[in-house]
Symmetry: D2
Amino acid sequence: MAPGCQFASDNTAGICPEAWEALQEANLGHQPSYGDDHYTREACDSFREVFETDCDVYFVFTGTAANSLALASLCHSYHSVIAHSVSHVETDECGAPEFFSNGSKLLLAKGEHAKCDPADVARLIRSRNDLHFPKPRALSVSQSTEFGTVYRPEELKELWGVCRSHGVSMHMDGARFANAMASLGCSPAEATWRSGVDVLCFGGTKNGMAMTEAVVFFDKELSKEFAWRCKQAGQLASKMRFISAQWRRLLQDGVWLRYASLANAHAQALAAGLREIEGAEILHAVEANAVFAKLSPDVDKRLKAAGWKYYSFIGGGARFMCSWKTTEEEVQALLGAARG
Amino acid sequence: MAPGCQFASDNTAGICPEAWEALQEANLGHQPSYGDDHYTREACDSFREVFETDCDVYFVFTGTAANSLALASLCHSYHSVIAHSVSHVETDECGAPEFFSNGSKLLLAKGEHAKCDPADVARLIRSRNDLHFPKPRALSVSQSTEFGTVYRPEELKELWGVCRSHGVSMHMDGARFANAMASLGCSPAEATWRSGVDVLCFGGTKNGMAMTEAVVFFDKELSKEFAWRCKQAGQLASKMRFISAQWRRLLQDGVWLRYASLANAHAQALAAGLREIEGAEILHAVEANAVFAKLSPDVDKRLKAAGWKYYSFIGGGARFMCSWKTTEEEVQALLGAARG
Amino acid sequence: MAPGCQFASDNTAGICPEAWEALQEANLGHQPSYGDDHYTREACDSFREVFETDCDVYFVFTGTAANSLALASLCHSYHSVIAHSVSHVETDECGAPEFFSNGSKLLLAKGEHAKCDPADVARLIRSRNDLHFPKPRALSVSQSTEFGTVYRPEELKELWGVCRSHGVSMHMDGARFANAMASLGCSPAEATWRSGVDVLCFGGTKNGMAMTEAVVFFDKELSKEFAWRCKQAGQLASKMRFISAQWRRLLQDGVWLRYASLANAHAQALAAGLREIEGAEILHAVEANAVFAKLSPDVDKRLKAAGWKYYSFIGGGARFMCSWKTTEEEVQALLGAARG
Amino acid sequence: MAPGCQFASDNTAGICPEAWEALQEANLGHQPSYGDDHYTREACDSFREVFETDCDVYFVFTGTAANSLALASLCHSYHSVIAHSVSHVETDECGAPEFFSNGSKLLLAKGEHAKCDPADVARLIRSRNDLHFPKPRALSVSQSTEFGTVYRPEELKELWGVCRSHGVSMHMDGARFANAMASLGCSPAEATWRSGVDVLCFGGTKNGMAMTEAVVFFDKELSKEFAWRCKQAGQLASKMRFISAQWRRLLQDGVWLRYASLANAHAQALAAGLREIEGAEILHAVEANAVFAKLSPDVDKRLKAAGWKYYSFIGGGARFMCSWKTTEEEVQALLGAARG
């Protein structure tokens, strides 16, 4: 193992063995296109089992598309979306939510550790109700958050309470939903629709699959014509089985949760190791698969000299992501390099 | 082999062996995300070799996205796109060109066998030049066409002549570009930029790959910020290597052309066989991998009873598509069923 | 009176005396902005009286904006709008319906004298129901039509029958609604919501006002947030009273109808005169304020030599529009020039 | 004179006498539509004289439309616009810039007294240059600002220096450009294109006209097809002369500047008066026609009891706007009420 981009993101890892086998199987013979195949039907049924409800499921290629199309199904162009100021929809999607909704504005909420503060959400919802400002229509929460923290169901319910009374729907950016679930231990139902989530973008790519995210509507009124929306947006796969077969397999026997638990455990180990190193300080609670640390120039230099790649932030911040493919050996190698 | 959807489309077949091997290789180890990997760099270089020019290449997931984003890079919302009345951008993309361009109108050209008639294109370009109508800005041609015919370079050059003098750019919807090239025999350069094509959407899915089309800009002025456009549109793959590795392999040693030639040859055999069957009449020149036939109710009934699936059109029309995976056995089986 | 553009369009005439007086009154003192004034409230109430129902009324600046915003309130980007092939939304709004709806496609219906044929509308609604084509969501009819003909309530009701059973709403482009009403003689209610119209764009500009069209929603569910839509689209006047005061006055004592009747009567006289001239042939029933005629080269030449301006069409067609300001003297002058 | 909304906004006043006379003249006879008339030609020429350059001029109905269309002509959907956090484009246009550009994001700059701080603009321009964030493409400055302050040419030039080196264009929201010019005393050329402004939205409504703003392009490359953009956006007036005639008149003999000077002078008097009142504190430099004051509850109560209307802000802030129509009597009446 050579040090490299293993911790740079949870998308530097490829396709996990179970997803790979599913692709192999799906590649036999011919299959009807555009999702009219048994892999897709069965994958959708698996979501209904996992979430214990008759949800509506659509597969798209990227998280950016999933979030933006989901938000566009909630919002007209003159609406606004409340999201945390460090949320992915605000900082890393190149204006995709604005593009797909034809103009919805993002209103930025504050909150510790990348979690939206209910009081600040309430403030944003109430701050303007005149025609000259976009009307708040959706709250977007990231689960797990961009800082690797996790909303507990009671926290979601508190946000739900704020939203519900103002006709604001809840969207969950679950690019790392699996990691959040592995962390919470509760049922997926409890962490989503039972806590007010109307639509969930469930990340596949960072859970060991390739080129797929699932948009899961718990409020089926919102998804009535979502298939047309996906098609028009260039997000309907003709060879859909190569997407759905991966989901079908990972949702079986809890493979998705197992890999997410592994990634989370490695993040814990990494954080524990860093805590004992002088010049490394853990910045946020490590509740999923991300470790944010403040590194001294020395530690940073040693890691980079050893060949490790990772996102750096102003002021010495560093982000390390663990994935389904992370190994104990890699964690120890990185810690060794950090120690010097 | 059981009769089924083998001829329903060229996307019912899966991933060809070479692309599969490329995926396997790409799945080893970790790779930087978003295309910052050697597979992607090498794949782009391969396009430059194949087209003998310093073109700019981007990978997206679907043909709908490829066409729409390419057209959006040519057009403002108040422009119009000229396309054949049976073109895919008009009939099968759910208004995606209008969506991605934020309103560009499609103007429908006439022409035999799904090929745009230069005189009709000229008529459309000249018909309106006032503010009250969208200004023609692009011509979109399908290569091969929706009826399985192929533009010869001299036909493209004639259209180019019409376009050039009015500031109209040329876009090529090459969902089946490989089949067209296998049919033409000339160089890819001759069939594209040397004949006036500014941007080509080169189909991967129907050429034996999965979930990928390449947008190839010959006019690099047009692609200056295309990467941002793709990202905003949810078309930037984080695990890009699983896309680019397929292209890198198929463009090597002419694999792409070999498969397209095979598909075309099967289409020829299928057409030849149908021509000898009473109640089957070939409707368009078979120049690529599609066979359009008019079937008598008896022939149609026999095929369906045997289990064959295919698109049917009003008045007895039927479409049969051959792919990289089509076998002689399948062709003979279908012909046998048609004969009864 | 010098011959000129008097018949070129019904927007070459200015502001009628009653509207002018209303502007004068509205210019006294100060008024709250953005429609929060008594002129606007009273104007809206006048619409409710004229239409005998609790409709929702919004004022915008142009017919293009009125139609497009109304259609955008009916359609998502992946929907389609059925309209006659010669309708203004298709031919003279520079793709505005596609722009405001972020991509809705127009499907073109046939029909004699610019009126949508119910059978062809039904064909378009039923022709496609798959994901690959925009779903029909609205029918747009022009009243009076672009050829100066008028839908009778029973014709609208027949179209309504077709629409209703497929979840398709009805939009009326009433740029010349006043002329249609003056022609029909029935109540405005009968010609609109009682015949299935969900939203009417009622033209002010061609009825003797300046820079105003009214969007009248009979289905208030559709207009719930229309005020935000107008504001975002740059169609909310800060000095709204200068718009609403005109409407308030013209809807009083039937001024709007009186002017429209005058214009229609002049069109009748003009058509009658032309019918008696060799080399002039009336092309469509003259039911509103437009006269379409086929002119011989001689007649055409004489009119142009005399200084008259009008739209000419390929093959000798000419359009003459009468307005609130048209005089008998002008009609006779034009006829005199035509006679030579 | 009864106290009311005289100071609530500079759009509660109507049309000034000169503009009114121009409308009267324009209402005589017939005129070609859509701006093909002499009033429009002459108005455009007047702009060229005022700005001492061959600029390109378009008339639209509202400031929201002017700003949004101008920005859309600078930006693609994946670009971003830098604007002050209290700028009108951010706070009071209901997401119109995002809508017309199909998704451009606004990046919020800081700066004292509503003026963009060059260092903060530079920070925003440089902060991100990756594909995952919209690329800065325009800076929007308000002149005069939302706090009634005015950029001096040297301040604009400093911003220009920052922009120029990064390919960022400069847009000026001049809803109150006249008031800024009256305040600065320099030439309009010096305050715009000679200081780097590429496109100016010159406000008519707040300068004594009705329903018109002018978009003035100093960089004609940017306006090449702006007329189509306006038409598609529903911003092309058919009876254009009623817009252009107002401009033609107000740009003659400096009427526009005279009224703006009057409004500014009244604002000075109002501020001077308030400064002497206990419980009133002036919050920003009074450089144009706005007076921002912090009022004690007593003063606020007295003013409201007397019938005065004005915008109030959290913490006791109040905004008073003077207009072309403001009189000394009104200023004294308001001051008198404030004094109690």
